[in-house]
Symmetry: C2
Subunit: 305 residues, 2 copies
């Protein structure tokens, strides 16, 4: 089997039943990426886009791809150091290296400095086994939004791929959280302090992004977080992979269906308040991050210094 252009195949796309040579594969991923950005009007002329890079294949490919179309808008990149020894330092190194290579400004912000604790000491602070990913997710969103805003960004780009998105849709569905379901990926409400998030990789399957990064020679960290464990998301990943194998195109269908569905759902809009503790956008009196920090008895470091 040959690529349409006659060259040898390096990637076989099952949902299209078509093989691609290296050049045609890379072109196709880039085309899909550009279509997602333009179709959804993710970036406007003059925007400063803050790119959140963990150092994994997704965020680094995103930075690389955004750099390739960065005409009329500017990029700045940053990483969040959650304080996970033996794991995050390698990712941050990869992120800094690619940013340097592309000539993009890169910053690192740590949980330690921003919120006064590190993930490695979470269970000690909590005094029991807790859901690490829940805490880390809340803290990360907090730091990402705050720093993107402080960097003067109009948009915050995050590296969620098609698999992540399909998993989130199905998880919220199975969990039955209608509110979270209808605002998946959208802003939780209006606030001048909230930087709109964009997901330029949302239409590209995880496998294709991994292949893209490898073929492009992007050095990324492929390690798994030592604090992550078996959870609903991972189970849903297994289910979706099984279905995708048997019914190629399932992941796209799930996300596409969700999009059409959401069009019919009332968005839980409204205005966000400001957290009484930290001033960040919040739906309640306290934002989720402050709620969790409060439960952990962590005192937030003085931000004025």
């Amino acid at each position: 089997m040959q690529c349409k252009c006659g060259s040898d195949i390096v990637y076989y796309r099952r949902y299209e039943a078509r093989g691609y040579c290296m050049k045609c594969f890379l072109d196709s991923v880039e085309k899909k990426f550009r279509r997602t950005v333009s179709k959804n009007k993710l970036i406007r002329k003059g925007d400063k886009v803050a790119v959140a890079v963990s150092g994994g294949k997704d965020s680094l490919s995103m930075l690389y791809l955004l750099n390739g179309i960065a005409k009329g808008f500017s990029l700045i990149s940053f990483s969040v150091d959650e304080g996970i020894s033996g794991y995050r330092p390698k990712g941050i190194e990869c992120a800094a290296e690619l940013a340097r290579f592309l000539g993009i400004e890169h910053h690192v912000y740590s949980y330690r400095k921003e919120i006064g604790m590190e993930m490695d000491s979470l269970e000690e602070l909590a005094g029991k086994k807790v859901k690490n990913c829940t805490y880390c997710g809340v803290f990360r969103r907090y730091v990402l939004n705050k720093k993107a805003r402080e960097l003067g960004a109009a948009k915050l780009a995050v590296g969620h791929n098609l698999d992540d998105e399909a998993q989130s849709v199905m998880m919220n569905f199975v969990r039955g959280d209608l509110n979270r379901f209808s605002r998946l990926g959208a802003s939780p409400g209006e606030s001048p302090k909230f930087v709109p998030r964009i997901k330029p990789l949302r239409d590209i399957p995880e496998k294709e992004i991994a292949a893209y990064a490898v073929l492009k020679g992007i050095k990324f960290s492929g390690d798994e977080c030592p604090h992550s464990f078996d959870n609903v998301r991972r189970d849903m990943q297994g289910v979706l992979n099984d279905f995708e194998l048997k019914y190629p195109g399932t992941k796209q269908q799930v996300v596409g269906f969700y999009d059409r569905l959401r069009g019919s759902l009332p968005l839980p809009g409204g205005s966000l308040k400001e957290c009484e503790e930290c001033g960040e956008p919040s739906s309640g009196a306290l934002c989720k991050a402050c709620e969790l920090l409060f439960s952990l008895k962590v005192k937030r470091p003085d931000q004025s210094s």
Copy 2:
């Protein structure tokens, strides 16, 4: 471990982490059944309810349960003979036997007489391998509605259980069929010729209905249809069973979430036309049954005789 009443346990309900003795289990299933019927106002005073009974555990338990609350409304039961040798006759025998035992009128209507073909000869007629369940489902809905109406029924009761419903929700989700999704279980539109379907077992898990039937000594056919095969529904059944095992209550959550979601969705209402060929309610010029029969070149038997 003992039942709350102190007796020995015969059934353990994982999603409640509670064991039940025989009496308390049967009571609980009956209570849940009555709640579904009353909460959703499935039956009105004076209604004649046509009960579709295949002869499996679900439909027979439903007939038995409906009979137990049949005060102020009347029951009539009927079976559809699809023409599947070695399978359907046994089910119809069980259905007729229970109806006789309960003193409920019972009728049998055959595909052969109603539409002029039998499932056993479908692939021969089609001249190729086709999706049996798709054809059979369309024909069954056609016969069920037509006969329920001719029997003068105000409602048509079908034996879909919680598992069936959760599977349907997830299947339509993964398939991305928004129209079918938003009207799952509801009428496809307004028509005086359409008998509203009710699903009184919708909140009861399949396993509990099987246990109920066995404990009540209801004789049912447990055979699998020889024409059914591996399909999306069966895959989804596997997924939901895995999730239910790991996260007890998943099936209820999926169906409950769907119900809340549907409340926010515009129902694709509108009026139904009448099929130009057979006069049955239809969204297009021809109803689905006539479309399929036409593709199979089957001539419908003269219904006037």
